[in-house]
């Protein structure tokens, strides 16, 4: 499905940050977004985009990795296949610490990448780029049509008022 909404172009980080702040003063936006070629620091604060929950996902996964490592090494070395090695006890856990650590990190790392993509809905719920220049040097605020109280005309005025150099309304069909 192609999305509908209104794009307000700003030239440069400064403009878009200030623009976002101005708009935010006029009213509250639940679903708005911005397209920038790089992470414009403090723009997220200006737009009051909530922080990411990713760290919790990673922590959980890391801990489960650790738990798995502990169980697996203990089970293989002491329960399933106990055999004398170098006169050490079957549960020689100090010798396993490196592997505990590595598995924790490995699980966390995978959770981190996959979690990030998942939270972004990439690649499966990815949407078409609205403007190819967003990955180059263009900055824009985006207010989708399903934003409560969406009205193209008033928003266009508001955007221009907020300092948008150009405003484009995206309708059914065009992208």
């Amino acid at each position: 499905m192609s999305e509908q909404g209104i794009l307000g172009y700003f030239d440069g980080p400064k403009a878009i940050i200030l623009g976002a702040k101005r708009l935010r003063k006029t009213r509250e936006f639940k679903k708005w977004d911005a397209f920038t070629p790089f992470a414009v620091h403090t723009l997220d604060e200006a737009m009051e985009i909530p922080k990411s929950h990713l760290p919790w996902i990673v922590l959980a996964s890391g801990l489960s990795g650790l738990a798995f490592a502990i169980w697996f090494l203990a089970w293989t070395s002491a329960v399933n296949f106990p055999i004398w090695v170098g006169g050490k006890p079957m549960l020689s856990w100090p010798a396993w610490v490196p592997i505990f650590f590595e598995l924790t990190v490995l699980f966390s790392a995978w959770a981190n990448l996959l979690g990030m993509l998942g939270l972004c809905g990439l690649p499966f719920r990815a949407k078409k780029p609205l403007d190819l220049r967003f990955t180059d040097d263009k900055f824009a605020l985006w207010i989708p049509s399903d934003e409560p109280g969406y009205d193209a005309a008033t928003l266009e005025a508001a955007l221009r008022g907020a300092g948008a150099s150009d405003v484009r309304v995206v309708r059914e069909g065009d992208a």
Binding site: D33, V40, S52, S92, L113, F134
Partner: protein, 461 residues
Amino acid sequence: MSTPETLRQRRPLVTGGKTVHDVSLDVCAPAERWGSRGYWLGFSTSQTALFIYLCAWLLVQTIGLKLVGINNRMDWGSFIVNFVFWVGIGHAGTLISAILFLFRQNWRTSINRAAEAMTVFAVSCAGVFPMLHTGRPWLAILFVFPYPNFRGPLWTNFRSPLEWDVFAVSTYATVSVLFWYMGMIPDLATLRDRAKHPIRKYLYGLFSMGWRGSMRHWVHYETAYMIFAALATPLVLSVHTIVSFDFAVSILPGWHTTIFPPYFVAGAIFSGFAMVVTLLVPARKLFHLEDYITIDHLEVMNKIILLTGSLVGFSYITEFFIAVYSGAPFEKFAFLNRAFGPFGWAYWIMMSCNLITPQFFWFKKIRRSIPLMFLLSIFVNIGMWFERYVIVVTLTRAFVMPQWGTYVMTFWDAVILLGSFGQFMTLFLLFCRVLPVCNMSEIKAFHPDTLRQIRESHDHE
């Protein structure tokens, strides 16, 4: 996310009045242009080396390890040396992108991509050796992994440093690749959006995973990047620690020393940075990136080489002193033998390359002189190879005197050592042509103009 204070810069990270748009133009250029003659020359050379490398391995694996210099007195040789050497090289990248990120060293942005790529390729070179140095690689590739099997209960020995290696190196390789890849997603999107040819567009589109620079995505992305940095930092320190366990956990005098982990890590960073310099000095010329990888970047790296080099030299002296002072006769003998025994020459090559060479970087002139830093970085690489060589040849004179032997590298040892560089360079040059050599989105984020605007947006109200 970054706070305004950290955004203040001493010197601009991008010179030559390049705009944000120019960044995309210049960085994408190598991937969009046909390679220069210099490029193809280098590429074909490395590929020939790679081919010879593969043939050499094929021969050694068919006839057997009798072709190389190792023997029953000294069971490890150049293969293990090469392994440790390459793993060491593979430390700079992750270090630059992780630790320097945590320390807010923003100058890292223009070199971290290349450095990470170097890490991945160095680790892939390293990975070849521990597998193929075994007597029966075709079994080793299976047996070292704890997989359930139908021969009844049979697992691996998790007490063995070599098994730790299996986990450490494979984890490190995986995490490096993931980190590297995630950092590339926005840039791949840029390449996708600039691409004209449908196939290019499709491929870059595939790997950029539909990134479109949405602010809500940037929030997650930045968090993930931070977490990766936090994960990779202890990891990068652990990998060479665990590699050093291969030696430190044994009971051999000269190997069994607690100083090894820090000393190996320092050495790894040392050699890694040297390799970054060795690579970037020609690369920035070849791909016209002087404005992004500026002389200031190189100077900072030389400072790090100076620091780590001095650390390494210090640990050389410490371990020698401790060994001789300890009064443990075997330990004492091992180290005196290292310095003055039959392999003393290697020891002194190591000392002069690793202890003396970096000291030249005390001088600003040398730090900022392209040809000199290139030369010195190569010396450092040689020195670091010999450091591992010196450690391994300790085997020739162990406990039991009648079993003392000697070690002479054969022709095939040499071919395989040089060939591994062929593998490394082939991969690296390939990378330069198809992937963004610099981290565009970050360079843009730390572009002087960007920083100014963001500062102003704060000073505004």
